[in-house]
Point group: C2
Chain length 324, copies 2
């Protein structure tokens, strides 16, 4: 029996059987969202959030699970520069969980939905042995009608980041090692893992700028997501990334030191940061920082297909939910 | 710890936290689909399809699972009189399944998608201990722009059925008892359970008629779905249902006899038939049968809230995926 051992094997197999675009879908598989043609376009995305795969109940509270399961979906809409509008909720429900779990779960999810003005449109419930949340979310474009996909970056473009690379990975590893106690040593990293910040407003501002050439959210870390971003662009593009230790959060540096690891590599590997990452013309970047002050330049697009991290050539893997 | 012991408990809890309609959703939770407002409306629905909850691998082939997981979703679009357009696919993938499983799985799903001219727009993959399929599907209305929800039936309306009530239940129970051998004794019932027929064309024809007052698909059986249908209508409505043994498939009668049970009760309990069930004005029914010859009248809407089956008052439960 031949095994399908990676996500890519599955995607290749799926591509073999399913066309990815037609007159209805104007942007198909491979980006953060797909775009459905309606007279007013919607973008739509789906993320599974499963016990012992994406979260552990030993250090995620019910409210954390309710929040994050919806948040990671909303982030895909933000990554298109879209405005989230609605979602469908599938719940796989283990018999052991009672109302003391579900009340805070729904409360946190509902609060996040309200903050983002999105409505729960429907869904499905089922018993199961492990808790699982399957959400499909969709959104509308900003006033100019434009969604930001990943492609279109050009040589010389500035690569920018809104959010921190490596914080959530620090939180995850600390939580795996120390359990809930990790919050004492690494409070902000733990928060970044349990309660990632949504960046819908920033996404909408980026989509409103004519200078932004591509956008995505960092769900699997720069090491994995940057090559994906470049692969979506036309031609053979590379990148120079600058993540000096001085730019990193003290918790990242502290954690890496405790493991005798490079803090820069640790941040670059990242994973689950849900920071917004994209490309903008050098001219446009300055303009953007006046409306989004905490937007950081972390590198630029170069000719050729090589990736440099802090001046040295880089080849490594990022975070893979599937093979984790 | 207070347990949530039924689907209704969950729906009540969800209703407590989430509004069900706003300017974006013009038809919210509680029907087969929710309707999103776009300039051209879409209807959208989601169904989980989980190992050992909704199917067993001991008698479902990989192809059966690929087919049925998408089919039960398409049926929700048919139940709105809609035209399915696209879907998102979430897969929970146990490590033991190799390419010899996934090839026929995707082939059958792809064939069904092609037959219905719908496109796989995206989704998510994850490892997991049990196989699970989570699909969100959406569709457009027919040319007149009308979706058929459940409400609006009136006293004197004909209740109609397209498809057989009780076939899939016969297949399920025989398969649970006999395994794949059940197909020898109950070939059509087993097929009805493993490969339910989609009724998209009939749904579109029903939506094109101005006489049809409400439509749904029988996923949980008449005993459970009929009260839901009546509850969606204005006022206190009842129904008289006629399912004489002479109208039932011989396999249903044979199975019920082998258990010394009533074939009529068995058919009425049903479950997973994905037959279309609805209400139409008495005048309109005749007109409909000329365009949909195999549409059957099985009863009528009455005043008061009582339900009669073959002349006797009826109170019982149908099929509940959740508490199964």
């Amino acid at each position: 029996m031949t095994q399908l051992s990676s996500e890519q094997d599955f995607l290749t197999l799926i591509d073999k059987y399913f066309p990815s675009e037609n007159g209805h879908i104007t942007l198909g598989r491979g980006d953060d969202c797909s775009i459905l043609r309606t007279d007013k376009e919607l973008c739509i995305s789906k993320d599974l959030f499963l016990e012992d795969i994406h979260f552990r109940r030993s250090y995620f509270s019910a409210a954390d699970i309710g929040y994050k399961s919806l948040a990671v979906n909303i982030s895909d809409i933000a990554a298109m520069g879209g405005r989230p509008k609605g979602f469908e909720l599938g719940l796989i429900i283990p018999p052991s969980l009672g109302i003391d779990f579900w009340e805070p779960f729904f409360q946190a999810m509902s609060d996040l939905a309200k903050t983002n003005n999105i409505i729960l449109a429907g869904g499905d419930l089922s018993k199961g042995q492990y808790l699982g949340i399957s959400i499909t979310v969709w959104g509308e474009p900003a006033e100019n009608g434009i969604f930001l996909s990943r492609g279109n970056a050009k040589i010389g473009d500035i690569l920018f980041l809104h959010g921190q690379a490596g914080m959530a990975r620090t939180g995850l590893l600390a939580l795996e090692e120390l359990g809930p106690q990790a919050a004492k040593l690494y409070p902000e990293s733990v928060k970044a893992h349990l309660r990632p910040t949504m960046r819908v407003k920033e996404g909408l501002k980026l989509a409103a700028s004519s200078h932004v050439r591509g956008l995505m959210d960092l769900s699997d870390g720069l090491a994995r997501d940057l090559p994906r971003f470049l692969n979506c662009c036309t031609g053979s593009l590379g990148a120079e990334i600058s993540l000096p230790e001085s730019s990193l959060h003290p918790e990242i540096i502290h954690y890496a030191k405790s493991k005798s690891a490079s803090a820069c590599d640790h941040a670059y590997l990242g994973g689950e940061d849900y920071a917004l990452f994209g490309a903008v013309s050098a001219k446009g970047f300055k303009e953007l920082t006046s409306s989004i002050p905490d937007l950081k330049a972390i590198g630029k697009i170069t000719a050729g297909s090589k990736i440099y991290l802090n001046g040295a050539i880089y080849a490594a893997d990022g975070f893979d939910h599937f093979s984790k």
